[in-house]
Symmetry: C2
Subunit: 546 residues, 2 copies
C-alpha cells in the first residue's frame, strides 16, 4: 500500500534517542559548555512521562500499530533539541493539579495551585489598568462611542479614554483589519516619542517594529542573525530559555556567558571575552550578544558603567547587541539604563568609535505594571542596522502579516499613558503605583522568607518579577534525584509542587554553574500563605534528606 | 578597534547577489520547477528599489561608511531567498500612494487607493459582526458587566452576549493573562463541538491547537515537518506564498504541483504523482501535501471525490496532509467538503486502509463572514499524529507562550455563534447573510467586468475572496517588462497601480505555468468605480502595447 516502509511502533525508542546533533546543541560548541546544567529530557528516561500522561493523545496510535509518516526520529531534530522549562513538565503537572482541584474528585494536600513559574500577573491577582481597558473596549465595539454621555455617566469612562479610542480607530480603521506588517503608523510614532522622552535622543518610527510580544521580536531577530550551524549568539547564563530554545530550533550555537552571582548577578565582561575567544577557537562565528536588563531570572539591573562595558565589548568583538528590556519598569533599586541612551551618549562622547554599533532593543506590554501578557503586544527598535537587512526583516515579518492589532493599541497606551491634568490621570497613577508597591512588598516578603530557610541564599530583590535563590541541597537529595535521572533542583521543584501546589522553575531550566542549584519563583501571587507553604516544605525536605 | 574586518559599503552588491542556494530554492529541486514563474527580486535589479525608497532607513548607513556586523551577504540566506508578493513592492507602493493622498501635497491620477491585493475585509467596507464585538468589548473591560441593564437598554447588548462574556471570562480569567500554550480549554472544547457538528464525527479538544491566525499554524506545522534540505512539501501552483516563503526560510524544498486551470483549477492527482516521482528521483524526501480548499488564489472548491483522491494519494505516497481550509465558508457554488469528514468516512468504508493518515486542518477568524484578520485568531486540528510528535509541537508553540487571548475568544464566537431562538440570533444572521450576499454580488460584478476585457479569461467565481483571471499580454508589453527585469504580469500590475490606485498581485507572486500570466484581485472593495477603473486602464494598456 505504501511504498515507503513505515516505522513500527514496537521498535524501542532508544533507537531514536541517540541524537548526536541534539546533544551537541544542548551541550553547545565549547567543552566548557557541557558543564552548564540544562534540563534533562525526561521523555527519554525510563520514567513514565508525566508530560504525555497529561495529554490524552489519540488511542489509535497507542497500541502496537505501526505509526504514520512522522515520528520522533524523523521530524525536525532541531525542535527535539530545544528545551523550554518555563512550560515544561512541571507546568503541565501543575495544570493537571489545578484541573483535579476544580473537579474536586481527588483529595490533594493543598487547595490551590500557585503558578509561580511564569510572569503572568493577571492570572494571579493583578487587575488590568482601567484606562487601557476602557480604550480597548471602545476599539472592540466602536458603536459604544455613539453614546458618550452614557459611557461617562453610567460606566465612568473619561473624555481622554474616548478621545484616544477615536484617534486610534482613525489610524487602524478596525482592530479586525490587518495593519502594516511592522504595525500601525500612529502606534510606531507614539513609541518613537516615548523613546525620545525616555532617552533624550531622537527615535524614528521607521525603525520601530511592533511584534506579538517580545518573544516574537526575539524570534525575528535570531532568524535574521543566524545563517548557519557555525553561527553563535552570546546568551547569559542563567537566561530566559526563549533564547536557547530559539537558537536550537535555528540549529545555531548558544555561546553562554556566566553572570556573576557573587556581585548580584552582574555582567562580567572579562568572562564574556573569554567565552568569545573559546567559541572562536572552535570555529564559531559569534554574531551577537543578548543582554536581559533587568535580568530574567536574576532581576539584576545594569547601571550606566555596566551597559557601557557591554557596548565596548560589542565594538571590540564586532557583535550585534540584543537588549531585552521588557522589565525596564520593574525596578526596585537604582534606575533603568537603556542601551539606546547609553549608546547615543557614547556616540557623542567618542565620535566615530561607536558609529557602527547595531542595537536591537525590545519591550513588551506583558511585564511592568501593564502585565498584559495575553494581548501579545511588543516592539523592537533597530539602531544602526543596514537598510538591506531591515528590508529582509520587513519581509520576514510580512509572511505572518501583522501583530495582533488590539495588542498594538495596547502598546500605544503603555507608551503614551494619561498625563497630569488629563481626566484619567489620577486613577491611572493610583493603579500604577499600587501595582508597583504591591510587587515590591511581595518581593521583600519572599526575600525575607528565603533568608529564614536553611541552605537558601538570595540576592536582595532589584527588579523584574522574580527571585532566583541558590539552594544547597543535601547529598542524599542529589542522589535521590540522580536515581530518577533528574537534576537535583528539578527533583526539589517536583516535590515542592506535589506537596504544596506551588509551581516554580528549577535553575537547570535557565542554566547554572555545575554543582550549584537554584530556582526561580515569581513574586506575583497574593498573600503569604503560599510562601509559608514553601518554608514548611523546605524544612521537611531538608529533614528528610539530611 | 574591531578584530573582524568589516565589510565596506563600497563593494558592489552584485557580489552578494550570486546566491546559488537561494536560486536553487527559488527554482525548486526538479528541473521542471525552474519554469514556474515566481516573483523576481527587484532589489537586485538596476532599478531604484521602490521598496527601500518607501522606508527612510538611517542616514548613517547611507553614505560611503563601512557597514556594521550584518549585511545582505551574511544574514540568514534562507530569508533572502524567501518571496512574499502579497506584501511586496506593489503593496508598499500602494501604501505610499495612500499616504500621499492623505497628505494632499501631490496630485495623483486617482483619489483613492484600492487594496485589492490582500483579503483584508475590514480595511475596506466590511463591518464586524455585532455579537462578536459586543462580547469582546466586555472581555476587554469586565466592569461593564456590573451594569447589565444599562448595557442592554442604552447600548443594545443582548443577554446572550453578556452571558457569553461571563462564560469566557471564567475560563480565561483575563484576556491579559497568558493561556495554555495551545489555547484556552473552553475555546478548544467549543472548536471540537463545532467540528463534530460540521463533520458528524468526534473531535477531541486535546488535538486542537489555537494559533495566531492560520499563518502561525502553518509555520508550526512546516517547522515540525521539515527536518533538512532534502525534505520536500507538495504545494499547489498557484499557491498562497506563505507556503513557499516558509519552506524557503526552513531551507526545505517546495515540490510544486500545478492545478488544472482548464477544469476550474481542480487538483490533478496524476500530475501530483508525477511531481512526487520527479522529486524523489532527485533525492527529495516528500513528506506532506498542502491543499488549499477553497483555493487561494483560485477560489476552487474540491468536492468529495477530489478530496478522496488527495487522501488516496497521501496513503499511496505516505504523505501528511495539510488542509488549509480558511475559506470554508466563502463558497458560492457547491458546498464545502472537509478533509476530516472525508477521511473519517473513508476510514469507516475501508477499515484499515486509512488508519495511518496524518491530517492537519487549519481554520481562521480572518476570512469567511467573520473577516477579523487583525485579531490573529485561528486553530489547527491534528488527526492521526503520533503522541511524540504532538509533544514536540506543544513544546514548539510554548516558546511563543500563547496565541492572543482575545483572538482565541473570537475563535470561540466564530465556531459557536448565536443559535435560533437566542436574543442575538436575528441580528447575527442578518449581518452574516448581508456580508455573504455582498461578497457574492461583488464577485459576480467583477467576473462580468473581466468577461468584457480583451485578452482576459476568468473562471466563474466558486469561493474564497479572490478572482484569478488569465491575461494574454501583447508581445510589446512582455518586452517592455523584460527591459525592466520584471515579469510581464508584474509590469502590468505596477502600471495599473500607477494609473488607477488599484493594487492587485501578479500571478507570478503565486506561481503559474510558464508563458501564462494572471493576477489575483479580491472582490472586497465596495462599489463599481474601481472595477470601471480597471476596465478602462486595461483598454488603454492593450492599445498602448498592441
Amino acid at each position: 500500500m505504501s511504498p515507503v516502509p513505515r516505522y513500527p511502533r514496537s521498535v524501542p525508542f532508544s533507537l531514536f534517542t541517540r541524537e548526536p546533533r541534539a546533544q551537541r546543541l544542548a551541550a553547545g560548541p565549547a567543552n566548557f559548555l557541557r558543564d552548564i546544567q540544562l534540563p534533562l529530557d525526561n521523555a527519554h528516561s525510563s520514567l513514565p512521562s508525566l508530560y504525555s500522561l497529561s495529554r490524552p493523545f489519540s488511542q489509535s496510535k497507542m497500541g502496537s500499530l505501526p505509526v504514520g509518516r512522522l515520528h520522533k526520529g524523523n521530524i525536525n531534530q532541531n525542535i527535539l533539541a530545544a528545551r523550554y522549562a518555563v512550560r515544561g513538565e512541571l507546568a503541565v503537572k501543575a495544570e493537571e493539579y489545578r484541573v483535579k482541584l476544580e473537579q474536586g474528585k481527588e483529595p490533594l494536600p493543598f487547595d490551590k495551585v500557585i503558578f509561580a513559574n511564569i510572569g503572568n500577573p493577571q492570572q494571579l491577582d493583578q487587575k488590568p489598568i482601567t484606562f487601557f481597558r476602557q480604550v480597548l473596549s471602545l476599539m472592540e465595539h466602536p458603536p459604544l462611542l455613539e453614546k458618550e454621555e452614557a459611557l461617562k455617566s453610567v460606566f465612568g469612562y473619561k473624555q481622554d479614554a474616548i478621545d484616544r479610542a477615536k484617534l486610534l480607530l482613525k489610524d487602524v480603521q478596525s482592530v479586525g483589519a490587518y495593519s502594516q506588517s511592522h504595525g500601525s503608523p500612529l502606534v510606531r510614532r507614539s513609541v518613537a516619542k516615548f523613546l525620545e522622552k525616555r532617552d533624550g535622543f531622537p527615535a524614528d518610527p521607521a525603525h520601530i517594529y511592533l511584534s506579538a510580544g517580545a518573544s516574537s521580536g526575539v524570534n525575528t531577530l535570531l532568524n535574521i542573525l543566524c545563517a548557519g550551524q557555525d553561527n553563535g549568539v552570546l546568551v547569559p547564563i542563567p537566561q530566559y530559555p526563549l533564547y536557547t530554545a530559539t537558537l536550537a530550533v535555528l540549529n545555531a550555537r548558544c555561546v553562554p556567558y556566566y553572570l556573576d552571582e557573587a556581585s548580584n548577578w552582574s555582567t562580567d565582561v572579562k568572562a564574556i571575552h573569554m567565552s568569545v575567544a573559546q567559541a572562536k577557537a572552535q570555529g564559531t562565528d559569534v554574531r551577537a550578544i543578548v543582554v536581559i536588563n533587568p535580568g530574567n531570572p536574576t532581576g539584576a539591573c545594569l547601571g550606566p558603567d555596566a551597559v557601557k562595558q557591554v557596548i565596548d565589548l560589542a565594538v571590540d568583538e564586532n557583535l550585534v547587541i540584543i537588549a531585552d528590556e521588557v522589565y525596564q519598569t520593574n525596578i526596585f533599586k537604582g534606575e533603568f539604563t537603556s542601551f539606546k541612551k547609553r549608546l547615543r551618549q557614547l556616540q557623542q562622547e567618542a565620535p566615530g568609535k561607536y558609529d557602527h554599533v547595531e542595537l536591537a532593543s525590545l519591550h513588551s506590554v506583558s511585564k511592568g505594571m501593564v502585565g498584559e501578557c495575553g494581548h501579545r503586544g511588543g516592539y523592537f527598535e533597530l539602531v544602526g542596522f543596514h537598510a538591506d537587512v531591515e528590508e529582509q526583516i520587513y519581509k520576514f515579518i510580512s509572511v505572518m502579516l501583522c501583530p495582533p492589532v488590539i495588542g498594538q493599541c495596547l502598546v500605544e497606551l503603555m507608551v503614551n499613558p494619561p498625563q497630569p491634568g488629563e481626566p484619567s490621570y489620577e486613577t491611572y497613577q493610583q493603579e500604577y503605583n499600587a501595582i508597583a508597591s504591591g510587587l515590591h512588598q511581595r518581593a521583600l516578603a519572599l526575600y525575607e522568607a528565603f533568608k529564614r530557610m536553611e541552605g537558601v541564599e538570595c540576592q536582595e530583590p532589584q527588579g523584574a518579577m522574580y527571585l532566583f535563590p541558590t539552594i544547597t541541597l543535601p547529598q542524599k537529595a542529589i542522589e535521590a534525584a540522580q536515581a530518577q535521572n533528574r537534576h537535583a533542583d528539578e527533583f526539589y521543584a517536583l516535590r515542592l509542587l506535589d506537596a504544596t501546589g506551588v509551581c516554580i522553575v528549577p535553575g537547570s531550566g535557565f542554566g547554572q554553574k555545575p554543582g550549584t542549584y537554584h530556582f526561580r519563583t515569581t513574586f506575583l501571587a497574593p498573600g503569604t500563605d503560599w510562601v509559608n507553604r514553601i518554608v514548611e516544605f523546605h524544612r521537611k525536605f531538608m529533614d528528610e534528606f539530611k
